[in-house]
């Protein structure tokens, strides 16, 4: 399953991953090879087989709606490259 350059650029855009020209080509080759190998799964008839997302019997695990203390704001901001007035500071998203 050979990927095109455009497909690689599209995936990189979905993943918000900047890539150099060299990286785009190398990844195009590597990903194509891996997908070629993974095509072996097509041999199996899985129409009637349910997917396994987790091996555990747990679903929709909730906790009781009881307030408790959580991470102090200062601690939460401590690793941030840019903060302002107790918030994480980011570049504008909207014009």
């Amino acid at each position: 399953m050979a990927l095109t350059r455009e497909e690689v650029e599209h995936i990189a855009d979905l993943a918000k991953l900047g890539l150099s020209e060299e990286e785009i080509e190398t990844l195009r080759e590597h990903l194509s090879a891996i997908l070629e190998y993974a095509a072996i799964l097509e041999r199996l008839d899985t129409d009637a087989i349910p997917p396994t997302a987790t091996v555990l019997p747990l679903r929709n695990v909730m906790r009781a709606d009881k307030p408790a203390s959580s991470l102090p704001q200062a601690d939460a901001l401590d690793n941030a490259p840019s903060t302002a007035e107790g918030y994480f500071q980011v570049k504008a998203i909207l014009e």
Binding site: L17, G18, L19, L35, T46, P50, L71, K91
Partner: protein, 406 residues
């Protein structure tokens, strides 16, 4: 006495008989690290001052009549497990400056048991790799032969342990990353059943596969370590609330009567002759000791690796989306807008293997390909699981057929 050569159970006996102190034991490990770690390079961060404080505290507690499952025992922790106040880099430039404000649940449990923390060990970046060569910082060397790799991704933990730079260690295992380096460094290591050990504070790689696992100089030490960390954690919604046995009761002196299934598919084409010979010899040893060996079949074995490639990378692509330079870690400051900031942060922060896996996983989940790849892989996962469910009456084991590369 060379205290760094002790096992955990050996050290606990001497500590309990007051023949050695926790302080001198920790000091012996710290001295050993100074002696050998420039050559082995197992550790990314050392915490000698706090380790000695913890050891002194352990001595005080013991003198006051308190005991603990690991009171005074010095441990090494893989650098994708959070220790509050100590850098947790995950072997990546993107988290080079990250200092977690909280302990992983496993760390909290180990603290309650009285353990001492020597430092954080090297790993393949974000646990992605099987040689520790993918660490952004440096490669760890196999103490048996410094020209060879220790395996991975928990290579630092395995190397530290066999080189007596810790009495016990913890790593994480998603597709073999505790078991394989343990094997390559010739120590005991295990992956607990998924859900047995909390993932809270383990930096996520593949959420349906990751588990923290113990490494020990022998299986008894692994059992002692597992006893401390195996339990339900309400902070991990994938933690199983099931009774926890005392794992030391599973340590059996008698191999006679143990039923072992050997899947014929594990001796696949391409297995290296030396590896096959070593495994068959080991099976023969068990047979000679009285084990009941039976050939069995796990028919979907050949599909396991492609399933893993698709599911683990898909989950990783989602788990690594959080590394955007906003809340922590490396941040590209020279970008003209937020989208370019994200791209440059991730371009410069992630290594090649991590990028490859993010790309593959993103593709497998993307619109138009989700059914053919991700969903398909999940269905085949069901078939693989059914193979094991049907063979549940026989123990089977994993053979990882590789040669330690230079």
């Amino acid at each position: 006495m060379r205290l760094h050569e002790l096992t955990i159970h050996g050290a606990l006996e001497l500590l309990r008989r007051r023949e050695i102190s926790a302080t001198e034991l920790t000091q012996a490990l710290l001295d050993r690290i100074v002696d050998v770690d420039n050559d082995i390079k197992a550790y990314l961060t050392l915490t000698p001052e706090t380790a000695l404080q913890e050891a002194r505290k352990a001595d005080e507690l013991r003198a006051a009549g308190t005991d603990g499952a690991l009171l005074g025992i010095p441990l090494a922790i893989k650098d994708n497990i959070c220790l509050a106040g100590v850098p947790t880099t995950c072997g990546s430039r993107i988290l080079e400056s990250f200092v977690p404000p909280y302990d992983a649940t496993v760390v909290t449990q180990l603290r309650h048991a009285g353990a001492v923390f020597l430092g954080k060990t090297n790993l393949d970046e974000f646990a992605m790799g099987s040689s520790t060569e993918n660490s952004a910082f440096f490669t760890t060397h196999n103490p048996w032969d410094l020209t060879r790799v220790p395996g991975g991704s928990s290579g630092g933990s395995a190397a530290a342990l066999i080189a007596d730079e810790a009495l016990g260690a913890f790593g994480s295992d998603t597709g073999g990353s505790v078991r394989q380096p343990a094997s390559l460094c010739s120590i005991a290591g295990m992956k607990p059943t998924y859900g047995r050990v909390s993932r809270y504070g383990l930096v996520a790689f593949a959420s349906s596969l990751d588990q923290i696992g113990p490494l020990g100089k022998d299986v008894t030490d692994c059992a002692l370590l597992l006893n401390v960390i195996a339990r339900y954690d309400p902070r991990d919604s994938t933690s199983l609330d099931a009774p926890v046995p005392d794992y030391t009761t599973a340590l059996r002196p008698e191999i006679k009567g143990l039923r072992i299934g050997v899947p014929r598919e594990y001796f696949a084409a391409g297995i290296q002759p030396g590896v096959e010979k070593a495994v068959r010899n080991a099976i023969q040893v068990l047979a000679d000791l009285g084990a009941d060996i039976a050939e069995t079949s796990l028919p979907h074995t050949e599909y396991a690796l492609p399933v893993y490639y698709l599911l683990a990378t898909a989950e990783a692509s989602a788990n690594l989306a959080r590394y955007d330079g906003i809340k922590y870690g490396y941040s590209a400051t020279d970008a003209p807008d937020i989208w370019e900031a994200y791209r440059r942060t991730r371009q410069h922060g992630f290594g090649a293997e991590v990028k490859r896996r993010i790309m593959l996983g993103t593709y497998a989940l993307s619109a138009g390909y989700y059914d053919a790849y991700y969903l398909k892989a999940q269905k085949v996962r069901t078939l693989i699981k059914q193979d094991f469910d049907q063979g549940a009456n026989l123990l089977s084991f994993q053979i990882v057929s590789i040669v330690i590369a230079r």
